[in-house]
């Protein structure tokens, strides 16, 4: 079963439009891998090419030793959990789950089906039709129908998209548990960053047909490589700045006349105009002039323009002298005071929480639309 899924130079064109462009990807065997991106970024097309439901315009796909680029879908050791499940409405649950085994001529499939239905806790539902099941149950049938074939790679196309929030949380944990239990490679496509971060070992963030960044959830969040990743995965404050010098392992960055430092490994560019980024929860607020700037990065003379209390934290908007508003999340630990709209504050944060990105990139890339249903998180 040790067979990595390798995509080399994969492109897919629809007419003149590239859905996926020169994609290189290695999914190590046995990992939970997430392809994360907004709708239309090419993630589903990539998944469909792995499944064999779409043929790549160029490039190759291999699974272990076997090249599968042009292999028909029914000949691949790969199974899919479809978006909206695509359960066969004319077959009962048992027959749905048995479908793949029967097609491969597996004799004595009955105990296997029963066992699989037990794994997804649907042991007593075998005789029902898909339409008689709830969304969460249908989802589990779809999972069982794919998993029972012991594929080398299981593909999940927005598997939790149709479920309500509570059920989705529950299924995230469940999916992760099942993946750990069976040890099959899972490739999971989603636009929901929280879903990807909860379950995946490795996330590839896709945008406009290319992979923007690949890494563990913590790596991606802590040190985004592009403005798109910075904005799509959580929120970021991006401030226009320029690099003016270097001091040992730090770069000196000037922001509107103030100097701050950023550790060199956290800078994607090392000279000229840049975006300086900082996550909202890494920024602290202090009443104006009350804190010293010993070793921390500081921006002074901001004014609180908005306060929203959300229970675990309070979200502030603080307007800087050059009229840019930064988002700040303060944990409501009770240890620190709160601020009101109109208060003068200073902002400070640790240099090692700063990151520096190329100023050529769009600072608003990946900022989620208000009407994007995947905005939760």
């Amino acid at each position: 079963m040790t067979s990595d899924l390798v995509l080399t130079g994969i492109s897919k064109q629809f007419g003149a439009q590239y859905a996926v462009q020169q994609l290189d990807l290695t999914v190590p065997s046995g990992t939970f891998f997430a392809l994360l991106g907004p709708s239309g970024c090419g993630k589903t097309t990539t998944l469909r090419m792995i499944a064999g439901l779409e043929e790549p315009s160029s490039g190759s796909i291999s699974l272990g030793e076997q090249e599968i680029t042009r292999l028909r879908p029914y000949k691949r050791p790969v199974n899919t959990v479809f978006q909206n499940y695509a359960l066969f409405p004319h077959l009962d649950i048992f027959e749905n789950v048995a479908f793949g085994l029967k097609r491969r001529g597996v004799k004595d499939f009955k105990p296997k089906v029963t066992e699989m239905l037990d794994l997804v806790e649907l042991g007593t539902f075998g005789k029902r039709r898909p339409s008689q099941l709830s969304g969460g149950q249908q989802q589990r049938v779809a999972l069982a129908r794919a998993l029972i074939n012991r594929p080398q790679v299981l593909l999940l196309d927005e598997p939790l998209g149709a479920l309500d929030l509570k059920l989705r949380r529950q299924m995230q944990i469940e999916l992760k548990r099942i993946q750990t239990e069976v040890g099959i490679t899972f490739v999971h496509v989603t636009h929901d960053q929280e879903e990807a971060m909860t379950m995946a070992d490795t996330i590839a963030v896709m945008n406009a047909g290319v992979i923007e960044q690949l890494g563990s959830p913590a790596e991606l969040y802590d040190l985004p490589a592009t403005t798109f990743v910075a904005n799509f995965l959580g929120q970021s404050n991006l401030i226009r700045a320029s690099i003016i010098g270097r001091a040992e392992q730090n770069l000196i960055v000037e922001v509107q006349g103030r100097k701050v430092t950023v550790p060199l490994p956290r800078c994607r560019v090392t000279e000229g105009e840049v975006w300086m980024g900082i996550r909202p929860e890494k920024v602290f607020l202090a009443a104006a002039g009350t804190e010293q700037s010993n070793g921390v990065n500081q921006l002074r003379s901001a004014v609180v323009t908005d306060v929203s209390y959300v229970g675990v934290s309070t979200q502030y908007l603080a307007r800087l002298p050059w009229d840019q508003e930064l988002t700040v999340f303060e944990q409501n630990t009770g240890a620190r005071g709160t601020f009101a709209v109109g208060d003068e504050v200073d902002l400070h944060w640790q240099p090692e929480h700063t990151f520096v990105l190329d100023a050529e990139q769009d600072a608003l890339a990946g900022v989620e639309d208000i009407d994007d249903p995947g905005g939760a998180g």
Binding site: L53, R72, N79, N84, G100
Partner: protein
């Protein structure tokens, strides 16, 4: 009639509605049923009863002297003894016609529903287009098309597919061809409706689960299109079993169908015999259809 029951049930179940309004609503429901009910009574129930009655009249009566009701059950046996050949032939032709319609119609409906893309509406319009011309005219056109000196026969002779003295018109093939042509849209449309509703992801799911194209068709597409197959075969079989135009225009007495005999008997004033044959045909079709539906399994045919 079930509609009446349902409407009644919902109105009585609606507790908060005050009584006067409730009876008013119920009255409205009956009033709405009235035109359809009257129509059914006038043009279905009464003719049916009169047909059943006519089939039991004394066969010695005539239009001039009138018929008397003598409960002459022998009409059925007598007519079947005389006309069992065209009767069996009709069912046989209808069966072949249905089979041809299914063979031709299924790929066509499949292409329109799943593969046509932006040509879908045009293709559907082309399927329906023949209805703009009368059934009779279209069948007459076939007569011209297949005629002995026609282009088709000449070409086939030139290609030596047809013998020098071979002909297309006035053959069983011509009759079945005409029937197939005339009833093909009745097969294609329900099949299309049924195939069009199939989620193509189910076909992909089949392929994903190790079923090749043929297996996917057999285990996924075909079962899901069964409602269309049943509706289409019924809509083709029933009218073609009773048809007499195609046999009349494209065939000879050798291709005589039961409809021709019924029509001839009615025209000759032999009402009891004609009625008895009609009732037998109707009963035979009802029995066949019931058996067929039971076999095809109607539980999911919604």
């Amino acid at each position: 009639m079930s509609a009446v029951g349902q409407l009644g049930a919902t109105t009585t179940a609606a507790k908060p509605t005050p009584p006067p309004q409730r009876s008013g609503r119920r009255l409205t429901a009956y009033l709405l049923l009235l035109p359809g009910g009257l129509w059914l009574l006038l043009f279905f129930a009464i003719p049916l009863v009169s047909l059943l009655a006519a089939s039991l009249y004394d066969p010695n009566g005539s239009i001039e002297n009138g018929f008397s009701m003598t409960w002459h059950w022998q009409n059925f046996g007598d007519t079947m003894a005389d006309y069992w050949r065209p009767f069996v032939r009709s069912l046989w032709y209808a069966l072949i016609t249905t089979a041809f319609c299914l063979l031709l119609g299924y790929p066509l409906a499949y292409a329109i529903a799943i593969k046509a893309g932006r040509w879908k509406n045009l293709m559907l319009a082309l399927v329906i287009a023949p209805f703009f011309t009368s059934f009779l005219i279209r069948t007459l056109s076939w007569k011209l098309l297949l005629s002995d000196n026609g282009f088709v026969v000449d070409t086939l002779k030139w290609l030596h597919i047809l013998d020098e003295d071979g002909r297309l018109l006035a053959t069983t093939s011509a009759v079945v061809t005409g029937l197939t042509y005339n009833f093909l849209p009745f097969m294609v449309l329900p099949l299309y409706a049924s195939l069009e509703r199939i989620d193509t992801r189910l076909i992909e799911a089949g392929q994903d689960l190790f079923a090749g194209p043929i297996t996917t068709f057999r285990t996924v597409t075909l079962p899901l299109s069964m409602p269309g197959v049943v509706a289409g075969t019924l809509l083709t079989f029933i009218p073609s079993a009773g048809d007499y135009i195609n046999s009349q225009l494209l065939g000879t007495p050798k291709q005589r169908m039961i409809g021709n005999d019924i029509q001839r008997l009615f025209a000759a004033g032999a009402y009891p015999a004609a009625a008895a044959l009609s009732v037998t045909l109707m009963a035979a079709i009802v029995v066949l259809v019931l058996l067929y539906i039971r076999r095809a399994g109607t539980e999911d045919l919604v």
